[in-house]
Amino acid sequence: MSEAPEILLSLEHVSLSFGGVRAISDVSFDIRRGEIRAIIGPNGAGKTSMLNVINGFYHPQIGVIKFGGQARSRMKPHEAAAQGIARTFQNVALFKGMTTLDNIMTGRNLRMNKNLFWQALRHGPALKEEIRHREFCEEIIDFLEIEAIRKTPVGSLPYGLQKRVELGRALAMEPKLLLLDEPMAGMNREEKEDMSRFIVEANQRLGATIALIEHDIGVVMDLSDRVVVLEYGRKIADDVPDIVKADDKVIAAYLGVSH
């Protein structure tokens, strides 16, 4: 009875270089709908470049990217967003002058399409639309337990909370695919546990497919369904956590080999 799992995104033989520097060499992997997929590897392995390729910041010179079964060519980041790819950044990229709520509301930007004139007047259909989106954002704020900082400019928030707001903004887009670049970097144990819980719930309750980069191997192994391991821009392993953990090449990449 079991059907083959649906592939949401696939990368086929992707290579990316900057001038003479190869950031990614001939990497292929896929992301199934509904899974949590981890991308790990030592520093400089090309993990962030991988995310940048997926959401259109970088365009690979070679290779095919298929999203929802459709191959795409040079897609711009805002087009990728329109197709349902949201992301967070390694060094939090929030709109620092705006409040938490406004930051999260920007995630609804693509879904607001009522006449600008009515929006300006706060009237008619635009008002209903604004209220609807506002409600949605309030749900996300509840979900992430950041009610208390709803009206605080995010520039003044502590780092852990900023990470949470950034996740909120991405979730507000109701993404099909959510890319998280080191969502737990620089967090203490407790904050990591909170963030892990949000990621799992976003995956199970909100149904987002998630691809995440993370250095904390313990967290990765707990959270993810499948793991891709990169080293020097190449894929060295790709499987479920238990097998990846025992893989010789992975152990060598992380710990070095004795000669």
Binding site: N55, F95, K96, M105, T106, L110, L116, M173
Partner: protein, 318 residues
């Protein structure tokens, strides 16, 4: 003691003894100030969205006014010429985005500033080529702008208000209010503020930088047109007019480069300060202090509030 009283006592005594003159001076200052505010607003819009200090703002104002008058001279009815000019300013915004900003994206600020110098000279050349270099008269009547003056008998004397100035103030206020609402309340406004804060993050939530740039350059173009009409009506439409754009610099220093309210309040302070200074303190120095007083006020401000009146405080976590 004499000089002391001439600076600190006499002018104020004069203000109190002739309140009608004071009212007249303040009014003229306010009107000039509103126009400075409009120019400064053009700078702020573009700076906020793209971090570019648009040196071409002054010439955009002249170019817009010149296009309007030039089209009218060529036999286009005034209102159609106005519509066409707005369309041309839109075309200009699109071309600048495509031909200048897009290829230069992610370059250092100084490169973009230099590019706006290029735009300046291009617009001067284009304007002269198409419409000639002679000063032209603004088509105030055709645009139904009022002329003449109203004399108010108040404060024991007469205060003369030019109808054109009243209209200018009215239009400027309407524009500022319109832009304020647009940028605070609409989806594009929120997107614009997002872009101003963080380009990458804005892209990742699906905001198109290119679209936002066109929107702000177009808004700045429309503001330039309005300013050009008002300044043109007070003097002539000629390339010499672009120097009034330099008056926007002290306004920007005062108000902060990133603040729309700052541009407005800064403009008013500079306008009123300039006129009052000229009228009450100017004679002490043989007159003509209007030319530099604005910069002086701005410098004095800079010493105490480097970020301007409403500029964003730069908070950095270390």
């Amino acid at each position: 003691m004499n000089i002391f009283s001439a600076i600190f006592v006499d002018p104020f005594a004069q203000m109190i003894s002739a309140p009608d003159l004071l009212a007249q001076t303040v009014w003229e200052g306010l009107v000039g100030g509103v126009l400075y505010s409009l120019i400064a607003l053009g700078f702020v819009l573009i700076y906020k969205a793209s971090g570019v200090f648009n040196f071409a703002q002054g010439i955009m104002m002249v170019f817009a006014a010149l296009t309007l008058v030039g089209l009218h001279e060529k036999g286009v009815p005034a209102w159609i010429a106005l519509g066409l000019t707005i369309a041309i300013m839109y075309g200009l915004a699109v071309s600048i985005e495509r031909l200048v900003l897009r290829p230069l994206v992610n370059q250092p600020d100084i490169i973009l500033l230099m590019a706006t110098f290029g735009i300046t000279y291009f617009l001067i050349g284009l304007g002269e080529l198409v419409f000639g270099g002679n000063p032209k008269t603004m088509i105030t009547q055709e645009l139904l702008l009022p002329s003449g003056a109203i004399d108010l008998s108040i404060l024991g004397g007469t205060v003369t208000l030019q109808k054109l100035d009243i209209a200018a103030a009215g239009i400027a206020l309407a524009m500022v209010a319109g832009l304020g609402i647009f940028f605070q309340k609409t989806r594009i406004g929120r997107a614009l503020r997002a872009v101003a804060d963080d380009h990458q993050a804005a892209l990742s939530v699906g905001i198109s930088l290119n679209q936002i740039w066109v929107v702000v350059w177009f808004a700045a173009g429309v503001v330039a047109l309005a300013t050009g009409i008002m300044w043109g009506a007070r003097s002539d439409v000629s390339f010499a007019l672009q120097v009034v754009a330099l008056k926007a610099l002290p306004v920007l220093i005062l108000g902060g480069l990133t603040s729309i309210p700052g541009a407005i309040v800064g403009g008013l302070i500079i306008g009123v300060g300039e006129k009052m200074g000229e009228f009450y303190w100017g004679p002490l120095m043989g007159g003509g202090i209007e030319r530099w007083l604005a910069y002086f006020i701005a410098l004095a401000f800079l010493l105490f509030r480097p970020q301007g009146l409403f500029g964003e405080r730069i908070i950095e976590r270390i």
